[in-house]
């Protein structure tokens, strides 16, 4: 399981890679947090349930990241640990995190929304799953 950022001219791409689709979604969520702060500084103290539904995997990824962006915004929270279950076009997840602590997290930027740009959810030749898109900051 791993995550990374990829280049976009004005914004930033988030990419998760995992053994399963669920792991790739969870890693993409870590990449999302890493746009704001170092995920290692975020303590997984509170659990927040997240659900979404979409007609395909790619739209589900955008919905998942947008649901997290919404929870981050209204709870003034950051998340660092994710458990994701996907079935029948539905995602059920738990995100663990804590309220933003400006001194400790030194958050760089707010994420406005996940976009359809460079959006992909697919299996890699080595069998692992990739989940990615560009987020607007």
């Amino acid at each position: 399981m791993t995550w990374e950022h990829f280049r976009h001219e004005a914004d930033i791409g988030v990419r998760g890679i995992g053994a399963t689709r669920e792991e790739a979604f969870a890693e993409a969520a870590v990449a999302l947090t890493a746009v704001v702060t170092d995920p290692a500084t975020v303590r997984p103290r509170e659990a927040v349930p997240v659900q979404c539904e979409a007609p395909d995997d790619e739209l589900l990824l955008v919905d998942w990241l947008n649901a997290l962006i919404y929870e981050m915004a209204v709870r003034h929270c950051l998340f660092s640990r994710f458990e994701v279950a996907i079935g029948g076009g539905r995602l059920d997840a738990t995100a663990w995190g804590e309220p933003v602590d400006v001194a400790r997290h030194r958050p760089a930027v707010e994420v406005k929304g996940a976009t359809y740009t460079e959006l992909a959810v697919r299996r890699l030749p080595d069998g692992r799953w990739l989940a990615q898109c560009v987020v607007d900051v």
């Binding site: 739209l59 209204v74 003034h76 958050p107 929304g113 996940a114 976009t115």
Partner: protein
């Protein structure tokens, strides 16, 4: 960008004739250097826009255009509702009505520099900026709806600002046709504690000196004098606009399919203006414009309070307030006929020329002030709309410098702390809750705003009036 596919109309204008699915040509305004530096994606995106139903005349890219979502940032396109024209959430963008306003301080540079440190500290304390910051204003459901319907006019009625501010704001400070009931509960929830906050990323409040005057007559009309100080505020509709953009992008992707509109890029998601989704989006988007106008109005009052404390008696009169990410109904002349069109400007500024009836009387003969935000440490500009801009690009001009490199590249190249120290060495005080945020917004990560502005002037989109240089920068 590979320029071989483009016809060169002039030194500062390039055209792609209709091909493939394009219904109209695409026209890009920039000099050769800016064009060559533009990402190929800009060309692909502006050509995609040219293929949308009901588009009129051409799809335009401004000199600061860069790779966006569906539409390029710096894209302008107008649609005729009676010819199947569409409204696009991607054509407006996530940060609805993000914009800039500039305030006169009436102070000379020397007066401000004598209190520069204290001014920077107080502004940083009073202006909520950065991730997780909240304002002191908390809106319940009823007041939220009043704000969404009333915009800056609502804010003034609540005591944030003065009635005379309103005529210096597009739409008189209140966008009509807003439908707060079309704004989702989630969008309103996201905004509840965010009124009067700057946000993060490229949003800022700057105290600036007027470093150079290019057009003394128009500068006088705008109240700008060399070595005087102004304040510019760049921010938008905060979480509410972002949430509306997110929700309608999804809904419009479905609506486009239902209306038989094939999209080369999902991000071009749109709906016919004459459709339920189109009308609901317009109502919500206009409410978000009001949210942005109210937000900048509240921040204006907070700024006035700080100035009055440090420089008693200053009034900080508003020069003008422009919005960058909008879709507005405007009358434009096309082939000799006046038509009501839905003009999308995404990362582009409206730039009405002299005599336009929507300009306030005091500015009408000079043309609309076009406020161009630079990056921290470089320059910003005040331009004036031209008569030619109407024919060139539905009275539109550029909006800023545009990024030249990604955030990731910027953080690898610069350290925030060092940038702040270096800028302080040049007499510019930067205050920000995030040093990484400062690095991501490093001046060198942006294109040369002067080249962008010069190209806009040479292309005829707007004329330079004054250059502004920062003295204090509060970064979100």
């Amino acid at each position: 960008m590979d320029l071989s596919q483009l016809e060169r109309l002039s030194e500062y204008a390039w055209r792609v004739p209709p091909r493939g699915g394009m219904r109209v040509p695409a026209v890009l305004y920039a000099d050769r250097g800016l064009m060559e530096a533009m990402d190929d994606k800009v060309l692909e995106q502006i050509c995609n826009v040219a293929g949308l139903p009901g588009i009129v005349k051409a799809a335009y890219a401004m000199p600061d255009a860069h790779w966006g979502y569906g539409f390029p940032i710096g894209g302008v396109a107008a649609f005729d509702p009676d010819q199947g024209g569409v409204v696009s959430a991607g054509g407006v963008g996530f940060d609805i009505s993000c914009g800039v306003r500039t305030l006169h301080t009436g102070l000379a540079v020397a007066e401000v520099m004598a209190r520069q440190e204290r001014l920077a500290e107080r502004l940083f304390q009073v202006i909520p900026a950065g991730v997780g910051s909240t304002g002191r204003i908390h809106l319940d459901e009823a007041r939220m709806d009043e704000m969404l319907a009333g915009g800056a006019a609502w804010a003034v009625a609540q005591g944030w600002g003065r009635p005379e501010d309103l005529e210096r704001i597009e739409e008189g400070g209140r966008m009509s046709g807003a439908k707060p009931e079309e704004v989702s509960a989630r969008a309103k929830h996201r905004q509840r504690n965010e009124m009067g906050t700057l946000g993060s990323g490229n949003h800022y409040l700057e105290v600036q000196k007027i470093a150079e005057i290019y057009d003394p007559a128009v500068a006088r009309r705008f109240g700008l004098e060399q070595d005087q100080v102004v304040v510019s505020i760049h921010c938008g509709s905060r979480g509410l606009g972002h949430q509306i953009g997110t929700e309608f992008l999804k809904e419009m992707a479905v609506a486009a399919r239902q209306h038989g509109i094939s999209l080369p890029d999902r991000e071009l998601a749109c709906a016919p203006i004459h459709s339920d989704t189109g009308q609901r989006y317009l109502g919500a988007m206009r409410a978000a414009i009001n949210c942005a106008l109210a937000n900048r109005q509240i921040l204006t009052q907070l700024t006035r309070d700080v100035f009055d404390e440090i420089f008693p008696g200053t009034t900080l009169d508003l020069l003008y307030d422009v919005s960058h990410n909008t879709c507005k109904v405007e009358t434009h002349e096309v082939d000799g006929q006046k038509r009501r069109l839905y003009v999308h400007r995404k990362g582009a500024t409206r730039a009405f020329g002299p005599g336009h009836p929507d300009l306030p009387p005091a500015l009408r003969d000079a043309g609309q002030p076009v406020l161009i935000g630079g990056s921290m440490g470089t320059a910003s500009y005040v331009l004036a709309g031209t008569a030619d801009s109407e024919t060139l690009a539905f009275s539109s001009a550029c909006h800023g410098a545009g990024r030249a490199m990604s955030r990731h590249q910027a953080t690898r190249r610069w350290r925030g702390r060092k940038l702040v120290d270096d800028l302080a060495g040049h007499g510019i005080l930067v205050r920000s809750p995030s040093m990484r945020g400062v690095a991501e917004e490093a001046p060198g990560a942006y294109k040369d705003v002067s080249a962008v502005v010069e190209a806009a002037e040479r292309a005829g989109l707007a004329r330079r009036v004054a250059r502004l240089e920062p003295l204090v920068c509060i970064k979100g």
